[in-house]
């Protein structure tokens, strides 16, 4: 039986490890390589590393850092941030990544999803979608470089799926860093729209939040604050999920 994944999400900014709250107030929290080493020792299911400034600064991702991180990583590694070309994907995969996450380039050039999945296979292509709720209660895509996007996030996710995306990494900016639970309304609506796996991100503060997300339609949960700022480990979450009757790899 397929297990639900618990995925620590590591944010990089200027090649340092940071943690944000609602995509602002970045705090530097340590060294990326040692963090990856700790997650590997903790036997986590997977790791997502996103460089949040790469697209804005038009920077390419730091391949040497990816190489060093992947050397510590005997688990799947997803890399995102500033991936704009097929050549970038080759470079990142050759540096040891297993999957790539695209966000800005997908929004600017949706056909890039199709090209990338044709070459590398859908299973390699994660489309990352950052969503904000407006005061009127509508969900809008928000991109750090492009700002608010006039495109419905649910239809966009569906389009990504039909273009060949293998997974959706869905982040609720409003919940990000607050540790008060995932946006289950957003998640359950998204789960009705797409058939590909959804990794929900933003808001995890206690193990129960992860079970709640899985029961609302997520295939996997991503989290960062809980691991940086609380005593809970990925294994604590899995133990809790197992007690809730969910299948996890212990």
């Amino acid at each position: 039986m397929l297990k639900h994944r618990i995925i620590p999400c590591v944010l990089l900014k200027n090649w340092q490890l940071v943690k944000s709250i609602q995509f602002r107030d970045f705090r530097t929290i340590g060294h990326p390589i040692s963090t990856v080493r700790i997650y590997n020792a903790r036997n986590v299911d997977e790791l997502i590393v996103l460089d949040i400034d790469a697209s804005i600064n038009n920077e390419e991702i730091n391949l040497e850092l990816i190489r060093d991180m992947s050397d510590e990583c005997f688990m799947p590694l997803t890399i995102g941030g500033g991936i704009r070309t097929i050549e970038n994907i080759y470079q990142v995969l050759n540096a040891g990544a297993d999957k790539i996450a695209i966000n800005t380039e997908a929004l600017e050039n949706p056909d890039f999803i199709r090209q990338a999945s044709n070459i590398f296979g859908s299973q390699c292509i994660v489309v990352s979608i950052d969503v904000k709720r407006t005061e009127e209660g509508q969900y809008k895509i928000y991109n750090k470089k492009l700002g608010e996007i006039e495109r419905d996030p649910f239809h966009w996710a569906k389009e990504c799926e039909s273009l060949g995306a293998g997974e959706i990494l869905l982040t609720s900016i409003d919940n990000e860093g607050l540790q008060n639970g995932y946006n289950l309304e957003l998640l359950s609506k998204m789960a009705k729209f797409v058939n590909i796996p959804i990794i929900i991100n933003g808001g995890c503060g206690i193990p129960q939040h992860c079970s709640d997300a899985i029961m609302s339609g997520a295939d996997a949960v991503a989290a960062s604050s809980i691991f940086h700022f609380s005593q809970f480990t990925p294994n604590d979450i899995k133990t809790d999920m197992k007690q809730n009757g969910l299948s996890v790899r212990i």
Binding site: M1, N43, F74, A95, G96, G121, Q123, G166, N195, P197
Partner: protein
């Protein structure tokens, strides 16, 4: 003579992780697509992530199809296929049209068709051991390994060494004489994945 392990580089990603896994268990493996290096090796590893058609085209344009057939089928060198490297040894794949594979095992690569399933099959899933294989020595039955694929290896269970359930049951590991292959990624499957690599390193040729 000590083993020389070659990891075939045919432009299909993921090679460094495989090489690091070999290093982690105390073996060294070179990454190469040079026919001479492959001929001088004692063990061949064919990893791979991506589309079947590209993989076959790349093997062909690098002149490696003949080399692999000679080294693995005629000379019986120990072979480990990983993920796409398992699929490629089948007769035929239906990914993006029909493409012929190496044809070492009578199998077809087909897509998961159950519409209730999410495809690709991504994540940790358990492997039930079918026929005993030295690749799984020291690993508990039904351990979890990491899978990422949309197509699976459809064949008679005669050569199946591992079975995994996703909708239906499918073959997640095979062994035919000197040919070993796994659909999952041992290099990404933490402790038990590394044990598989270690077991492959420890195998001695027939």
């Amino acid at each position: 003579m000590s083993d020389s392990i070659v990891i075939i580089d045919y432009g299909m990603g993921n090679l460094r992780s495989v090489q690091k896994a070999f290093e982690h268990v105390g073996a060294s493996a070179v990454i190469s697509n040079d026919p001479i290096v492959i001929k001088n090796s004692t063990k061949i590893v064919l990893p791979g992530v991506g589309a079947f058609k590209d993989a076959m085209q790349n093997l062909e344009s690098l002149g490696l199809i003949h080399v692999l057939n000679t080294e693995v089928i005629e000379k019986k060198k120990l072979f480990l296929g990983i993920c796409l490297g398992m699929q490629i040894i089948a007769k035929k794949s239906y990914e993006f049209g029909e493409t012929e594979g190496l044809g070492w095992i009578d199998a077809e690569i087909v897509r998961f068709t159950d519409t209730a399933l999410k495809v690709p099959h991504v994540g940790w899933n358990s492997v039930e051991f079918e026929h005993s294989s030295p690749l799984f020595d020291g690993i508990p039955d039904e351990s979890d390994f990491y899978f990422v694929h949309s197509y699976y290896f459809d064949a008679d269970h005669h050569y199946a060494s591992g079975i995994t359930e996703y909708g239906d049951k499918f073959i997640s590991a095979i062994q035919k004489e000197n040919i070993f292959a796994v659909q999952f990624h041992p290099e990404k499957s933490q402790k038990y994945g590394l044990k598989i690599i270690e077991n492959f390193v420890g195998l001695t040729s027939c």
